[in-house]
Symmetry: C2
Subunit: 115 residues, 2 copies
DNA sequence: CTCATCTGTTAGTGAGAGCTTACGGTAAGT
DNA sequence: ACTTACCGTAAGCTCTCACTAACAGATGAG
């Protein structure tokens, strides 16, 4: 349950979001990712470590280079959490609308007379 | 596009996540939320401000108290972004699998590597 | 009007995150 | 074996963020 924290924290940083979005097009190496980003290559490497610890990407050695790739499992877990939360929030929202409607309808109850 | 940044950054903090999850059950006041959380009431108030600026919650004055409530729109926008990103990542993932198969088995047209 | 309750805001502090530079290690090419 | 290319990690610095304490505003009850 708490592993979502790492995923959200990982995607919170704009630079890390940029790295992650670049990986959406396909697997890429570290230097390739750093090229075009306003940060140095070691910074990208650190960001990739965070993304990897969060379960959002996987890395594989391809010769001297190291290719990173999005892990659909981690992204799927995040999506599942958001979906579950989404339905709960919608239910609570609908219930609140009903509650307000019942409250606005003047019943034989004396608690909150409208000004 | 960049407003997602605020949403992700807002949900990155564990305390803010706790506040947000408590609001999933229904609208609540500030003091009610602070009760049971390991932080002071002003801290909760600040977190609610961040969540409000991120478009994740809405506030309404109810007498002297201030009731906060989850904004389905903000949560929906976040979900939409994640869904769009989800499909793109899946497509790239499948394409990568195909590419690897073709690379490992260049000569035969069979896409059935028994390995 | 006065007092109590509830809340938002500000100032200040301490911890943590992100960046760069420098270094060490591994793989391919000459 | 030497050189080049690519990458991860450690040290150091800066700066943002989350928290508490104290203050200011608004509402309801008496």
């Amino acid at each position: 349950m708490a592993y979502n924290n790492a995923a959200f924290a990982a995607l919170a940083d704009p630079t890390r979001r940029a790295v992650f979005e670049r990986l959406a097009d396909g697997p890429r190496a570290v230097g390739d990712l750093a090229e075009g980003l306003p940060v140095s290559r070691p910074a990208v490497s650190q960001h990739l470590k965070v993304l990897k610890d969060a379960g959002l990407v996987t890395d594989r050695a391809e010769g001297a280079r190291r290719v990173y790739q999005i892990d659909p499992a981690g992204l799927g877990a995040m999506r599942a959490w958001l979906d579950r939360f989404w339905t709960a929030a919608l239910d609570a929202f609908a219930a609140e609308i009903d509650r307000q409607n019942n409250e606005l309808q003047p019943k034989p109850e004396r608690e909150d007379p409208p000004k």
